[in-house]
């Protein structure tokens, strides 16, 4: 019999996994989750990527259905008598089954000054926000603790531009994962990156400056580290305070004691994740937390699953250095306490900064564990063999990584330790579901979805299962985008129907259709809404506008180079006012009008086109903007007319469809006010001409553009950009921006230079001709649409009530403009 009221305290990764598992298992009772943090559970393992630009949404786990979430709500007490939890604000919630998933808290050693402003821990999004905020007025930071989390925090401080120190009590860094030799190599790497490492040192005090904020850290030997930010990362302590308050058994050194079914000393209460003491261990990794969540979920539903301990292997990339540890590695090698029956094989290259060590049984037959610093290739391939026959000679394995593995992986070997997925399970999933890629394996088994370190192993299993990995676009085409591009170009194909009939199967999907649409458009096949092509377009292209969260659209007229006359500005203002649109300056030096209903788009665009505006292609995988700075016309530093060039380039490439969007900028001098080096192509004026930079990127993974040509005159510049863009359009993958494309090319920038500047493939004339065709055949999509009643027919709210506005769209007012009223999700999901 299922209990009918499940209450979960804490909403971190383990709670999320538990709730998912009981829902998936058909649990029918009510579920209430209390989370102290103000937001739904997120991927704490990926926390640091938040500072590198990932959004909270990127990190947040998908919302589980049918669960009452009480966020920003801390449970203060558990009353076991009445089986009720009571929150800090006094609300009571009864339970039949209670799960404690309260995680852990960073341990802050009792150092004088630890409460000063400027002292932080590193565990939540809020912690990171505070650290980022404080970093604005700081020049140096120090992390106390040189373990896994401490070095991640150090990575973050360095990323915030601070001089970064790490203070570690042990004689070497990451003492729980690597041995002394590995620690030394790791330290070399970090020092080469500018980190200042203090090992074998504690902390005497944090001292304040005149402003009352942390200003320096004093070591026991009296040495002073000037730092305005102090991050404590000296281990974690299980949050067992609720268990103590209500009298559950806890371990001597903390942690809520549980049996192998994750049950506490009260049979109606479970504890999972970092707050639980299972088999005498508090695990500080997410893999065991997930495994425990699955066990508890199974028990709650009447099963008999058991948690038998977990693998503590870790692999990470810190500050660009790979560090990994797997299996058993805490052996004493020499001296009186030497562990009998263990041999180790070490490979060390101090110049390359590589340290690899394998532990094997003394008959050299069984793999016990390993440590890697600088090159963790053996981790993915060897970890599943821990406790089993060595799959090759130790030296082959250390040198050749996967290549040295001769034996087949046994079916019961664990491939993904985060999600406890075995080789057998992955193999069966590949065979049963006809999986062809890593994504399929992830979807089916969850392997590879957490830390990602097992992905190379999954790839290898796909290959050994006879799957050709990677290039198929989707189930309808076995080709990559680049191959399809060549097929369409060489065979002169002009419709999707012909392409899929001759080279694919079925009728396509939301992956291959937009790709085909883009290829056909790049090769100049008329209006994107012409005939059959219309049905291929993504919704944004289909309505020549960007869909917004409430189903309305945005309108972005092209403003080449960001230059605009007062009269045109006034027209935009009038249109926005007359149609009641929200108006905002975009990050691309133009103006966005938001909140247009689909049936209003033609009327809006009629006014804009009549005033001389064109589509800005904000909706397309196409050229967006060429930003400019004022340049030599006005700026006292400018050496060339950057506005003039930006406009020329924007007009040349407008409407050019490509694998992903294209952005550009032109700066009038090396001060770079247009941010050209963060663009797909960026131009910076020099005294003698222009410098051309390519393959830069803002966005998720920022990349500075590389210098492709220096001091070139305008005509050479334009031809070089023509060829760069056409070569990219021909050969890139779907949704691959120029930055990722360049990095995927064998030979990188040198190869691109050979192809487009030395014509090593003999295709330059072809690329030039293709771009000339594009320039000559350009027309404004919106004007052409307004002139064609057939195309206008799609811009209606309802086929049977064309003039009736969608009744689900409504707005409220904020700062004197409209703002969508979103339908609350409870009203949507049942």
């Amino acid at each position: 019999m299922n209990p009918n009221r499940l209450v979960v305290v804490g909403y971190g990764p383990s709670a999320h996994r538990l709730v998912e598992a009981v829902r998936a298992g058909g649990f029918e009772g009510g579920i209430t989750v209390f989370g102290e943090e103000p937001r739904p559970a997120y991927d704490r393992v990926a926390l640091t990527s938040y500072l590198a630009g990932k959004s909270v949404e990127d990190l947040t786990y998908p919302a589980p259905g049918g669960v009452t979430l009480r966020l920003g709500s801390r449970v203060a007490r558990v009353d076991r008598e009445s089986r009720t939890v009571i929150t800090a604000s006094g609300d009571a919630e009864p339970y039949d089954t209670l799960v404690l998933a309260t995680g852990s808290a960073p341990f802050v050693p009792p150092v004088p000054g630890k409460e000063l402003p400027g002292c932080f821990v590193y565990r939540t999004i809020e912690d990171l926000d505070s650290i980022r905020e404080a970093s604005r007025s700081a020049s140096a930071g120090v992390v106390i603790g040189g373990g896994l989390l401490g070095l991640e925090a150090a990575d973050a401080l360095r990323g915030l531009g601070l001089e970064t120190h790490v203070v570690e009590m042990s004689p070497w860094l990451m003492p729980r994962q690597v041995d002394e030799g590995g620690g030394a190599v790791l330290r070399n790497h970090l020092e080469a990156l500018g980190l200042i490492v203090h090992v074998g040192s504690g902390v005497r005090a944090v001292e304040a400056g005149p402003d009352g904020r942390a200003a320096r850290l004093v070591k026991p030997d009296g040495e002073v580290i000037e730092a305005q930010i102090v991050v404590f990362s000296a281990g974690i302590r299980p949050r067992d305070e609720l268990a103590r308050q209500c009298g559950l058994a806890v371990g001597e050194r903390g942690g809520i004691a549980v049996d192998s079914g994750m049950r506490t000393s009260d049979p109606d209460i479970y504890a999972i994740g970092e707050c639980a003491l299972a088999g005498g261990m508090v695990y500080g990794l997410v893999g065991p937390a997930f495994a425990q969540a699955e066990v508890a979920a199974d028990r709650i539903m009447g099963g008999s699953a058991a948690f038998e301990g977990a693998d503590l292997s870790t692999k990470l990339k810190l500050l660009g250095v790979e560090v990994a540890q797997f299996g058993e590695t805490q052996f004493r090698r020499t001296g009186p306490g030497q562990t009998p029956g263990v041999l180790d094989v070490t490979y060390m290259d101090p110049v390359a900064g590589v340290y690899k060590k394998l532990f094997v049984s003394d008959d050299a037959k069984t793999l016990l564990g390993g440590i890697c610093v600088g090159d963790a290739a053996p981790y993915g391939t060897l970890r599943p063999f821990v406790g089993r026959a060595l799959p090759g000679s130790p030296s082959d394995l250390l040198f050749a990584g996967a290549g040295g593995v001769q034996a087949d992986l046994p079916d019961d070997a664990q491939v993904c330790s985060c999600n406890n997925v075995t080789h057998g399970r992955i193999r069966t999933a590949i065979a049963d579901h006809g999986l062809t890629g890593v994504q399929g394996v992830k979807d089916c088994t969850r392997a590879g979805t957490t830390c990602g370190s097992c992905v190379p192993m999954i790839q290898r299993i796909l290959v050994t299962s006879g799957v050709e990995v990677g290039k198929a676009l989707c189930e309808h085409f076995a080709h990559s985008r680049a191959e399809l591009f060549d097929i369409v170009r060489v065979r002169g194909i002009t419709t999707f129907s012909q392409l899929i009939a001759e080279h694919g199967t079925g009728r396509g999907c939301d992956v291959c259709k937009p790709v085909a649409a883009s290829i056909l458009a790049s090769l100049g096949n008329g209006h994107i809404l012409e005939g059959e092509q219309a049905a291929l377009q993504d919704t944004n292209d289909h309505f020549l506008a960007n869909i917004q969260n409430n189903g309305t659209y945005s309108v972005v007229p092209r403003i080449p180079g960001g230059e605009i006359t007062p009269d045109k500005l006034i027209v935009i203002g009038e249109v926005a006012r007359d149609f009641g649109l929200y108006t905002k300056i975009t990050g691309g030096q133009r103006i966005d009008l938001l909140g247009a209903r689909v049936e209003q788009l033609p009327q809006i665009w009629k006014k804009l086109v009549d005033a001389g505006f064109e589509s800005g292609h904000a909706y397309g995988k196409a050229l967006r903007t060429v930003k400019s700075c004022v340049g030599s016309t006005w700026c006292r530093y400018g050496v060339q007319d950057s506005v003039g060039l930006a406009i020329e380039l924007e007009l040349r490439y407008r409407g050019l469809r490509s694998p992903h969007k294209l952005k550009a900028a032109v700066s009038g001098c090396a001060r770079e006010c247009a941010e050209a080096r963060s663009k797909d192509f960026g131009i910076i004026a020099t005294e003698r001409g222009w410098n051309l930079y390519v393959a830069g990127n803002g966005g998720f993974t920022p990349r500075h553009a590389d210098l492709l040509a220096a001091d070139v005159p305008t005509d050479v510049l334009v031809r070089t950009i023509d060829r760069f863009l056409m070569f990219y359009i021909r050969t890139a993958d779907r949704l691959q921006r120029t930055a990722a494309w360049l990095e995927s090319l064998d030979g990188g920038l040198g190869y691109v230079r050979e192809v487009i500047m030395e014509d090593s493939l003999g295709i330059c004339a072809d690329l030039d001709a293709q771009m000339d065709r594009h320039v000559q055949s350009y027309f404004d999509e919106w004007r052409a649409t307004l002139e064609d009643p057939e195309k206008l027919r799609r811009f209606v709210s309802f086929v049977n009530a064309p003039g009736t506005p969608d009744p689900s769209i409504s707005f409220e007012t904020e700062r004197d403009q409209i703002k969508p009223v979103l339908i609350p999700l409870e009203a949507v999901s049942r």
């Binding site: 998908p62 939301d510 259709k513 219309a534 291929l536 709210s797 309802f798 086929v799 049977n800 409504s810």
Partner: protein, 119 residues
């Protein structure tokens, strides 16, 4: 605030004409308003018709008719234009997350006119 309903009490069991069959573009959808109920109607390449609820259960926006029509393992599908989850046009179930679904409605052609029933 507007109120969204799946089924209209007014249309009780009746077939409601929506538009001429010829007005539907192959492999594209169109929205229809039947009473207060929003229906997304689709015409596939082979000429089959499907009708599902127009509201995307993930975003709450009434946009399903604007998604891309395709197939997955032979099953006709539409992808939500908002965040691209793929739904079966036959069962309405979301193939990427079977916990979510859109309602499906009977649809037919009478004398060249497409009709749906939302009762």
């Amino acid at each position: 605030m507007s109120v969204i309903q799946d089924a209209s009490p007014l249309s009780g069991g009746l077939w409601t004409p929506v538009c001429p069959y010829a007005d539907l573009l192959p492999e594209r959808g169109a929205a229809a308003l039947v009473g207060t109920c929003q229906v997304a109607v689709f015409r596939t390449f082979h000429g089959d018709l499907y009708a599902v609820g127009n509201r995307d259960p993930f975003s709450g926006a009434c946009v399903m008719s604007r998604g891309i029509v395709g197939t997955r393992n032979g099953e006709p599908t539409v992808a939500s234009p908002m965040h691209k989850q793929v739904f079966s046009l036959v069962t309405g179930v979301c193939l990427d997350d079977p916990a979510k679904a859109v309602p499906t409605y009977p649809i037919r052609v009478t004398d060249g006119t497409v009709e749906v029933s939302v009762a």
